[in-house]
């Protein structure tokens, strides 16, 4: 192979081999608990100071693109669940929306289907943010919030398992509809959960957000200015914490989100600079509150205007064969971690796409770590990495 094609690798190898006498190379991961999965960060350090961060990915690469290109759209939905496995509903929602839009059935879906989708997606968003908040606490040394978050998340997991039959990987949202209607009594149980959860969330907020140790470890650490965040393609809570009101649920107004009332929390720099670790944490806490509001509205409509009827068939619009003419389409949706996109390139006379590419929000959010990690203390790097909230299933796909 041409020498030119190996130049990048050789340059990296030379950098590692020629470290100075005061420098040290430290591998953080791939089996380090604070990396939240199998991520390896190669640090070039000078004592306690990090001079350079070189991330190494791919330990969890499961060839999503290749799989999606070798089977039809319906069969690829379970693979989308495994991208961000903490928010499977949101992943399949984005994928399914793209296929429906290409089929031209996105406007014909029954309202009840759309409200159920929004409901389960927001439940999953809360579950994902609870993990982010809980594990962030434990990264920094706060053990109790972790237990509280997992206790409350388990209620959501149980409800979604009741709905779809699986605890984390649901395959519940189908092209043109849903696997089943909500189980009988789901709305009431969900209402009970919301009533239980609201004071618990306040308790969690009181415990962690204003804790002096937590503030010392997160405020003014890893400050991400808005222009850097945009340039690095950061999205979701990362971008909002830097003070930019950018939420695709509002911007694109997909599904039934235009009919729902919710605020978009942004970082205000209450404890330090705008866009620091504390802001990223706080945006997530506030987003959980907004998700609870959305769930209440969905429940209210699912029990009044769009209530359960005997003849409602959530599979009525599910196509037998997905026939899409040759075209290209990029769909994006707001996941708990940020903008999840799928780029489709379809071909005529077959229901197997030519190209599917998943744009994982964690992948882009993580790329900023080399910028944020320059010149910080090793212990602060853990703070920064935790505040980015990555899921390796999505980084490596």
């Amino acid at each position: 192979m041409d020498v030119k094609y190996n130049a990048g690798y050789n340059k990296y190898k030379d950098r590692i081999q020629q470290i100075g006498s005061t420098e040290m190379v430290i591998n953080m991961g791939p089996q380090h608990p604070s990396t939240h999965g199998v991520l390896r960060l190669e640090l070039i350090t000078d004592g306690e100071l990090v001079k350079e961060v070189i991330p190494h990915l791919g330990y969890l690469h499961r060839c999503f693109d290749k799989h999606a290109e070798s089977m039809n759209y319906t069969k690829a939905i379970p693979f989308t669940d495994r991208l961000d496995y903490l928010a499977s509903m949101n992943n399949s929602h984005a994928f399914v929306m793209g296929v429906e839009r290409m089929l031209g059935i996105d406007q014909k879906l029954p309202k009840r289907v759309e409200y159920i989708r929004a409901l389960v997606c927001e439940l999953n968003r809360i579950a994902s943010h609870l993990i982010a908040i809980g594990t962030y606490g434990i990264d920094i040394g706060a053990f109790t919030p972790f237990m509280w978050c997992f206790r409350d998340r388990e209620h959501i997991m149980n409800m979604l398992e009741w709905t779809s039959g699986s605890r984390m990987l649901y395959n519940y949202i189908w092209i043109g509809g849903l696997y089943y209607d909500l189980p009988v009594g789901f709305e009431e149980r969900c209402k009970e959960f919301v009533d239980y959860f609201k004071p618990k969330l306040q308790e969690l907020d009181d415990l962690l957000s204003t804790n002096q140790i937590f503030i010392s470890r997160t405020a003014n650490i890893g400050v991400l200015p808005a222009n850097v965040a945009i340039n690095y393609g950061c999205s979701g809570p990362m971008l909002r914490a830097s003070g930019i009101k950018w939420d695709l649920r509002r911007i694109d107004g997909y599904s039934v989100y235009p009919e729902l009332e919710f605020e978009i929390p942004v970082g205000k720099g209450e404890m330090g600079a705008v866009g620091d670790c504390w802001d990223r944490y706080k945006v997530r806490v506030d987003e959980v509150r907004e998700s609870v509001r959305i769930i209440e509205q969905c429940l209210e409509r699912l029990t009044s205007d769009f209530k359960r009827t005997v003849d409602f068939d959530p599979r009525a619009l599910v196509p037998r064969k997905v026939n899409i003419k040759a075209q290209q389409y990029y769909v994006r949706a707001e996941n708990p971690k940020g903008e999840l996109g799928f780029y489709f390139e379809t071909q005529d006379k077959t229901d197997i796409p030519r190209r599917v590419k998943a744009r994982g929000p964690s992948f882009n959010n993580l790329s900023v770590i080399s910028e944020l990690g320059k010149g910080v203390l090793i212990s602060d790097l853990i703070s920064i990495l935790g505040s980015i909230d990555i899921v390796l299933g999505e980084v490596d796909r």
């Binding site: 041409d2 130049a7 990048g8 290209q328 790329s367 910028e371």
Partner: protein, 171 residues
């Protein structure tokens, strides 16, 4: 559902590009599909991207995605750029077509846009790793998801799995 610029705006962008960079900057403009696509001449790519990012009327400051597409058995590839504008909330798709004979000594080449959007760094590394598209002037072009000593480009349609990797049977 998505935020496409109105047709008049796309036409204005096309007009502006032609006035700024000349007629041969844009190869084609397709608006038949759901999202309009501008096919770009690769030699103008970096200038055009920087212009689209900095132009106060368009301001496409957010690069969502870069995708490399293989058109096997045809001897060509394409690289697709999905841009978004945060202030104006519009999306735009750019596309570069590359003819290539698929030999491993001669990868399809195009200039890197990582000097315009830093996020392109990892996206281009991924395209290089999995599809074998070489980006000139990239600061750090090496494999990202596959191991550094992997042979071949797995997302190409004519890729065949190796029998083993470091003595570990794969098939």
């Amino acid at each position: 559902m998505e935020n496409q610029p109105p047709r008049t705006m796309i036409e204005k962008i096309v007009e502006d590009i032609k006035n700024t960079f000349g007629e041969d900057c844009l190869v084609r403009y397709e608006d038949a599909g759901l999202q309009p696509v501008l096919s770009v001449n690769p030699s103008y790519l970096v200038q055009l991207c920087a212009w689209l990012r900095d132009n106060p009327y368009y301001h496409f400051d957010f690069l969502s995605n870069i995708t490399a597409v293989d058109y096997y058995p045809e001897p060509r590839f394409a690289v697709v750029y999905n841009l978004a504008s945060l202030p104006f909330q519009y999306q735009l798709t750019l596309r570069v077509e590359l003819d290539n004979d698929r030999s491993s000594d001669h990868l399809p080449e195009l200039p890197s846009v990582s000097s315009v959007w830093r996020t392109a760094d990892w996206h281009e590394r991924e395209a290089f790793d999995l599809m074998g598209v070489f980006f000139n002037d990239h600061p750090d072009l090496r494999r990202i998801l596959m191991p550094d000593d992997w042979q071949g480009f797995p997302l190409r349609k004519d890729y065949e799995d190796p029998e083993e990797y470091h003595g570990i049977p794969i098939k």
